[in-house]
């Protein structure tokens, strides 16, 4: 293998440093035995202990997980159907319709959902409105992965299934679904992560009724970036990392299986 030129290595290293250094600092300070994010005093797990006894924080965490679970579940179901539909009938308008929310500026989506929920649906903002909003922006992601998976597959295996006596439903159950399952799971994990980490849209659609981890963190740092914020951020980061790695593992898994 050819060696990369030094300048390229330096450029890459500084880019990664720029990306990851802030994160590393947050993680480091979450273990710092000091009220201030100033200098390193010593190692402690106290901030995590504080977290565990912060009722508001625990409630926000519970909300976040519940919202993520419900919204990503629903988005996975709908997104999978959309992906299948886009592949099967290739309507020109559907991809546009499904993908637009993905590309739309979050603030726009947030504001319009807010208006829609209040003025059109007369919904009280809270758990339900956040879940609906999260479903809206997650469907596209799931649909895209599922469709990509289908596009990479040999069409004739579905015909082969029919040919060998499977009804359309059996073909779906025994061939199509097992084959897209890795993409469905990857899509679910992605939707879960997006929901868990979302701030802007949640901010607009949560009202006063419900708080999530990102909202909770935001309300805390309005006062000061406390070590407790560092601790909860670290945990959120860890969870996100695990989900992202799991999703990409699913991806690789199906690449090998399809070979």
């Amino acid at each position: 293998m050819r060696r990369l030129p030094t300048w390229l290595l330096l450029a890459a290293a500084s880019s990664y440093a720029f990306l990851y250094l802030p994160l590393i600092i947050v993680v480091a300070y979450s273990f710092n035995d000091s009220r201030l994010n100033a200098e390193w005093v010593g190692f402690t797990l106290d901030w995590y202990r504080v977290l565990l006894h912060d009722e508001e924080m625990l409630l926000a965490a519970r909300n976040s997980l519940l919202i993520a679970l419900v919204s990503s579940g629903a988005a996975t179901l709908l997104g999978t159907l959309a992906g299948l539909g886009m592949h099967r009938w290739r309507p020109a308008w559907l991809p546009l319709l499904v993908i637009t929310p993905v590309a739309m500026p979050e603030i726009l989506l947030g504001v319009s959902l807010l208006v829609f929920f209040i003025q059109v649906l007369h919904l009280t903002l809270g758990f339900l409105s956040v879940v609906l909003a999260h479903i809206t922006f997650s469907i596209g992601f799931v649909a895209i992965v599922v469709r990509a998976r289908l596009a990479g597959m040999d069409e004739s295996i579905f015909e082969a299934a029919r040919d060998l006596g499977a009804t359309p439903w059996q073909t779906f159950r025994l061939v199509t679904f097992p084959l897209i399952l890795p993409a469905v799971v990857a899509g679910f994990l992605m939707a879960f992560t997006l929901s868990l980490d979302d701030f802007v849209i949640t901010f607009f659609t949560a009202g006063v009724g419900v708080s999530t981890l990102p909202l909770q963190i935001y309300s805390m740092i309005k006062i000061a970036v406390t070590p407790e914020v560092n601790a909860v951020s670290t945990l959120l980061m860890l969870l996100t990392l695990v989900l992202v790695i799991a999703a990409s593992r699913m991806d690789k898994g199906f690449m090998r299986g399809a070979g």
């Binding site: 004739s156 295996i157 015909e159 299934a161 040919d163 060998l164 499977a166 299986g257």
Partner: protein
């Protein structure tokens, strides 16, 4: 009663007619081949028989019953796809068992018949492997076993050997013939390789631009092509423009521009004065330093080129009238690579029984 009957089937895609008023019948136990160049409508026809597509006009009958309202999964017809179309998430054994499970057979029966089918194609050891773990030839065998295991009335094979290399293809050709004879299931086989069609089939339908040009046994397709397309498409052929001078009891007297009179075997329906083609296979043409008295037709020429391929050598001989004829001479004498050199003056000839007069409409 024929097993499969295609009655005046037409399929159009927009303005384009992919299958154009095709009719033929396939007898039970037959190895029937659809042969034609790329794009002539073979796959389109096969897909309509399998039930993936419907004709715009005409009927497809199986055992005398119209299949129009029978969906693919209820037709006793299975397909072996060119790219095998094995289920990537199922093991070899589960792939083969698939049609049995769909038919609702009991687990014991499924096991037994799957094992039998795998033995039939010599793949018993690979039962638990996955499709991505086996070779192209092995995939081909799995696809065959899967297509045959449930004993369909008809097996459709769409260029099943196209993805294999030459050596493997020849092996699989022999195996296919053996397999078809053993199981006694009717095969409709699609290929664009004429040698494969000649080697495997009981009968061949030669297709061109959505139509069947000729339907006959391989030796008749090769020996008695009905038109220029078939003569040209099947094997190598010298085609000489000719006019019929006289129809006599022992054959035809043709006039070929620049060559003069040529004698040819009698042809059905041929009339004095009409124009047509003399189709002359390279192996019917002799080349020698001096003319053989047995040659009814003999012309001087010069060797332009030759191609030595081991068992035979193909010579390109330019006749004095400007025609170039191909002649195929066996290299039977040991150590003998060729008889003539480029530039040699030679005599070219063939008997009055060689060649075949093709009427041109």
């Amino acid at each position: 009663m024929p097993l499969l009957e295609i009655r005046r089937v037409t399929r159009r895609f927009g303005d384009f007619t992919a299958v154009d008023d095709v009719s033929f019948a396939v007898e039970p136990g037959e190895f029937f081949t659809l042969l034609g160049p790329s794009g002539c409508g073979k796959t389109t026809l096969l897909r309509m028989i399998a039930g993936f597509d419907l004709p715009d006009a005409g009927q497809i009958l199986l055992d005398g019953r119209d299949l129009a309202d029978t969906p693919a999964e209820r037709r006793p017809v299975h397909t072996v796809f060119q790219n095998f179309a094995l289920f990537p998430h199922l093991s070899v054994a589960r792939n083969v068992a698939f049609p049995l499970r769909m038919a609702g057979l009991g687990e014991g029966e499924v096991k037994r018949r799957t094992a039998d089918a795998l033995d039939m194609v010599h793949l018993g050891e690979l039962a638990e492997h996955y499709p991505h773990e086996i070779s192209g030839g092995q995939k081909q065998r799995v696809a065959l076993a899967r297509g045959l295991v449930n004993r369909p009335r008809l097996l459709l094979l769409d260029e099943p050997l196209g993805a294999l290399d030459l050596k493997l293809r020849e092996e699989m050709q022999l195996e296919l013939i053996k397999l078809q004879r053993e199981v006694g299931i009717t095969f409709v086989f699609v290929t664009h390789a004429q040698n494969e069609a000649l080697a495997l089939s009981h009968r061949i339908a030669v297709m061109n631009a959505g139509r069947v040009e000729q339907l006959d046994e391989p030796s008749r397709i090769y020996g008695f092509p009905v038109n220029r397309f078939v003569a040209d498409f099947i094997g190598n052929c010298n085609l000489l423009e000719a006019e019929v001078r006289a129809v006599e009891a022992d054959g035809l007297r043709l006039s070929v521009a620049g060559l003069g009179e040529v004698r040819a075997p009698a042809a059905e329906g041929c009339q004095t004065g009409e124009r047509g083609l003399l189709a002359l296979r390279p192996e019917q043409v002799q080349v020698a330093a001096e003319a053989d008295p047995a040659w009814a037709n003999r012309f001087p020429g010069q060797v332009r080129d030759f191609l030595y391929v081991g068992d035979v050598t193909t010579y390109q001989v330019r006749l004095d009238n400007g025609y170039t004829l191909q002649a195929l001479l066996p290299n039977a004498a040991p150590g003998r690579a060729r008889f003539h050199e480029t530039g040699d003056r030679v005599m070219v000839g063939w008997s009055a029984q060689a060649g075949h007069y093709v009427r041109e409409a």
